[in-house]
Subunit: 147 residues, 2 copies
Amino acid sequence: MANTEIWHEITIKASPRDVYQALTDLEKLAQWWIPDTRGESSIGKTLEFRIGDLCQEMQVMLLQPNERVGWQPTETGLPDWTGTRVAFTIAPQETDDRASVQFRHSGYREDIAAFGVYSMSWAIRLISLKDLLEKGTGHPFPNEWDS
Amino acid sequence: MANTEIWHEITIKASPRDVYQALTDLEKLAQWWIPDTRGESSIGKTLEFRIGDLCQEMQVMLLQPNERVGWQPTETGLPDWTGTRVAFTIAPQETDDRASVQFRHSGYREDIAAFGVYSMSWAIRLISLKDLLEKGTGHPFPNEWDS
């Protein structure tokens, strides 16, 4: 069976509130994902993540403060991502200074050749998010692990 | 649809031969995966990865020098891993000093709650393998990103 969904989970020593902020604030997004981040994190608006000539737009579909964030890649970016959905679910842990981030990127067509590269790239970004929140410094794209 | 396979891909600035060695040599395995690694990397034999009381045995199913390594978790380890298969495929790149590692962990039962944690953990191990081969130091389990 082919894979159609990337599913990662990471624990971060940060409050659900701080995790949510890092997923919705443009400056924070730039520090853990793509340095050139523009747009607006509001329902129905789009975020723009720019890498050279590529502009990966994400339409913001869901904003549930401190709990969930959902994006839908638009057709301007990676063709493989058209029709997919990205979701971050923030699950509080025993204490409020720790949260688990459940990440899903769903709806891939079957047999996408670069699936493994996308999966690895998201994992690297989640480590970057964790390091940004725990140590103050992320590893935005592209970093030493991406090439 | 539930996920039943983890699939990651990472590029490493190392020859296919060095990558293969890191997947089959006990000392190297200990440096990027689990420090307490025992057993024998020969077809039909088992590798033992020990973490406290847990001993994750992997029966070695496939050894294709510089190209492929296949393991099958035995029933001694994580119950979620029983019946699954682990495969590393080493794909040479344009030049011989670079290889792409395609990793697959297949055959999970559907709806395993910890699937995302396993996926993330393997991604962290692949970064560890890359850093071991490129910089001489891996990040074996458990490291700062695992908790």
